[in-house]
């Protein structure tokens, strides 16, 4: 048990170091912060709202993450496959799960760090008015979980190919589906021909209602479970893909 934790930590540490060994991490963080600012203040009408909340800040996260999270996650396994280091890693005395979880946690931590660097916006609302920091905290949790869900999907797609670009594109498409599944224009389209159960099945995959729950300041265990199960399922599927890769099917 102890050694499992130690292995996960060793792998996560290496992966996180990998982000910061190149300028990619810094470029990523700067772009993330710039886009956050742009969406919040320009498109979100932060000031026009005249309320001390971060609604306009969180509103855009599902779209912002749509491209940024797959960009951060696309290298996770595809790079391992391209370099051949997967063979090295998986012949170490560790389980594949420890490697999958370690790599995922490292990237998630990296995204959490980028998200944490948006703290000036929290200070701003607190300075401007009487903000409800409980709701803001809840919003951050929701945002982090959303990033984790997208990341787990990217992890899955990065195991499917050794080409990072393909991995990126597939994961954007899947994440886009997760956003659009509950979007009225899409559901209306489905309702016309699809049976009831299919429509509700598709809608159930939508991240937006669950994400909105957090933004209203409601910590609903169902929303939590939703995101955690997307993460769990995607990581499990990653494990299956890696096992199949190794057995050569």
């Amino acid at each position: 048990m102890n050694s499992a934790v130690a292995n996960v930590r060793t792998i996560a540490k290496r992966e996180l170091g990998g982000y910061f060994a190149s300028p990619v991490a810094y470029v990523f963080i700067v772009i993330f912060l710039l886009l956050c600012g742009f969406f919040t203040f320009m498109l979100g009408g932060f000031f026009e709202r005249r309320e001390a909340s971060l609604v306009s800040f969180f509103l855009w996260h599902p779209w912002l993450y749509l491209f940024l999270v797959p960009a951060a996650g696309m290298r996770l396994w595809s790079e391992e496959r391209r370099l051949g280091t997967m063979e090295l890693l998986l012949t170490m005395p560790i389980t594949a799960w420890q490697a999958i979880v370690g790599k995922f946690l490292a990237s998630w931590l990296f995204l959490a760090l980028a998200l944490a660097l948006t703290f000036p916006v929290v200070m701003t609302v607190n300075y401007l008015g009487d903000a409800d920091n409980g709701v803001i905290f809840c919003g951050y949790i929701g945002s982090l979980l959303l990033a984790g869900a997208y990341l787990a999907v990217s992890c899955l797609t990065s195991a499917m190919t050794r080409n990072q670009v393909i991995s990126f594109i597939i994961s954007v498409v899947i994440c886009l589906f997760l956003i659009l599944a509950g979007w009225p224009p899409v559901t209306n389209l489905l309702v016309r021909w699809a049976p009831e159960w299919l429509v509700s099945g598709v809608v159930a995959f939508s991240v937006i209602p669950h994400f909105d729950g957090f933004q209203r300041g409601v910590l609903d265990s169902r929303d939590l479970i939703f995101f955690l199960s997307i993460i769990g399922f995607s990581l499990f599927a990653t494990g299956v893909i890696i096992r199949n890769l190794r057995s050569g099917h």
Partner: protein
Amino acid sequence: MIKVENLVKTFGPKRAVDGVSFSVERGEVLGFLGPNGAGKSTSMRMITGFIPPTEGKVFVGGYDMVENPIPAKRMIGYLPENAPAYTDMTVNGFLNFAAELRGLRGEDRKKAVNRVVEMCFLEGVIHQSVDTLSKGYRHRTCFAQSIIHDPDILVLDEPTDGLDPNQKHEVRNLIRRMGEKKAIIFSTHILEEVEAVCSRAIIIDRGKIVANGTPEELKQRSDYAGAVSVRVLGVPGETVRQRLGAIPLARKAAIVREAPEYVHARVYPQGNQRNGELARSIAEVSLKEGWKIEELHTEEGRLDEVFRAITLPDTVKENNR
């Protein structure tokens, strides 16, 4: 230490490894020979637990690699083909990472890293990023990773591939030295390497073991084994061939090369004897004829010739089909 039983690996309809069995004990260096695509790397991937066998079993230090992979993997150091390494790390970072995954902590880890850096001559590049290393250094970095925990078993897939002659020499010496206390399997298609390093060699072709023995035993299978090579000055080739071919111990004599000033002939013995009697008879004949002999020796047989003889005809057959 390593026991492999009837190992099979199929990729779709292709049987990449087809019923391979052998074992390696401590103190043995087993050379894994075979043409490209013979299934050497695939076998090694199964032995090290990277890919599961389709059929058959791998035991490492008594542990079944499929049922009990963690303790089995602990005993092995592995250098995969092409020596992969994380390009975004420094040599030092990479070796520390490997040491940590091997369960080495604190002072032990430092010692282990220093030891392999010294053994593999990496002092000069220790703080360099892996993607800026020359191929030889990257190879040695990955090799260093495989011995960082001083494993009982080493599996090395083409450990001298891409090295210059001096580096090859160093790595061979290292393998031979470590082979005294460990069980080592290494694959290669360089035949001198087998003679220089291995205590035993297995030749594998299209997934099957086609020969298994010490390098000396394998060389015995060569047509040349026991043949006597002779160089005579100033005598016509045909005369030499006929006279030497008539020796009772000789099966036949052949001209290898006829130059204006000398003739190089090879005399093959009857049966499989190689006790030097044929060479003595040839010396006597030459003396009687008054030939000037420049060179006379009994050949040991050549591994490359055995290798070709075993692995080539079928390939040719396949191509003609």
